[in-house]
Symmetry: C2
């Protein structure tokens, strides 16, 4: 499970550009449907319009394919970071909280996130997964730190430590996602609201009116 999972499913609305993208799309669909434990190359093949032998030929088992899938998703995310115009850094942070901890997550998104919890667990023993999630988490911490730095430059945030803030925010979002995927009583709405309260009390500069945060 990771922050990346948030936007990833939107990647697969379009017709895949090439064979590799088609394999990644099939992997995504099979992962949502069967989860990690239920996933087989055969089942990925069921979602793949071309020859299944291509899959067997290219990948040495489902873990090799899944690690490439994770890497593919992260690279695509890196390349397509929305340069949406936010009013300011606090506006951007709030949008990220709403996006990562939505009020009513779509079922497909919940399924994908559950599968990501399973993939993440592989990283406790499998070095390739571990390398991926190390890179993944570093990327998201750096993204958050950049937003905080921007806020400091804008005068919206105080002179906080951007890396420290980013470490906490990413951990909080990951923890809330994990809880959603593994329990029935997750309190994501509470987490989202308290993250906003944290931004107001810990980040917001003295001269900025808290009410404008929404």
């Amino acid at each position: 499970m990771n922050v990346q999972s948030v936007s990833s499913y939107a990647f697969f609305d379009d017709e895949p550009a090439d064979t590799r993208a088609a394999i990644m799309q099939a992997t995504y669909r099979a992962l949502c449907e069967h989860g990690y434990a239920g996933l087989t190359i055969q089942r990925i093949g069921d979602e793949f319009p071309k020859s299944k032998s291509l899959l067997y030929h290219h990948y040495d088992g489902k873990d090799a394919l899944l690690v490439e899938f994770l890497s593919f998703m992260l690279r695509r995310f890196e390349a397509t970071i929305p340069d949406r115009e936010y009013e300011d850094a606090r506006d951007q942070l709030t949008a990220i909280f709403d996006h990562t901890l939505p009020r009513d997550p779509a079922p497909e998104r919940a399924q994908f996130r559950a599968a990501m919890v399973e993939l993440r667990a592989q990283a406790t023993t499998n070095r390739a997964y571990r390398t991926h999630f190390t890179r993944n988490d570093r990327f998201f911490r750096e993204r958050f730190a950049a937003v905080v730095r921007r806020g400091i430059e804008e005068g919206v945030f105080r002179e906080v430590d951007p890396d420290r803030v980013a470490a906490m925010v990413v951990a909080t979002i990951h923890g809330a996602m994990q809880e959603e995927a593994t329990t029935n009583g997750a309190e994501s709405a509470h987490v989202r609201e308290e993250l906003r309260a944290y931004v107001r009390s810990q980040l917001l500069a003295e001269n900025v009116t808290p009410e404008t945060i929404g």
Copy 2:
């Protein structure tokens, strides 16, 4: 992975009181050594001084045994909550942060936490694990909320929403633990320090000197 894992290993220093406790101790040891994926009833039996057939007789596979193990740990934790005397509620929160996100976790503890990430991932598809982790997380949220309520009553904390604070703190600690178990570059020290900063800026009453928090 859960807050409970923090103290659990200390449960097994003593000689087990009965056969069931001995089975739980053997399960704990085998889980630390082999992780979830590598665990078998046979390997638990290797840690068990009595007849292995007892294990096969009692438990219908490793998941049944592990779910009972999780439940055993949580109940023991519930029953043995340290009624240590803390100066006040903020002192208690700081102690919990230091305890759950320690500077140098012992190798056995890191192994156990990694196994807990694997067990937690089973809850995405297995109802018995899911029921356990639902109860587990609720328990820890309630524990944190009680500390926050105490702080409000003491006049140390402001009139914050204890349930909301608890939801965020538990998510943050779980996220940091997950990251430690699944990546090489976890930033737990940053998370711990930022949680302290959050307590100072968001919880601490106006008339309390932040410096005394340490």
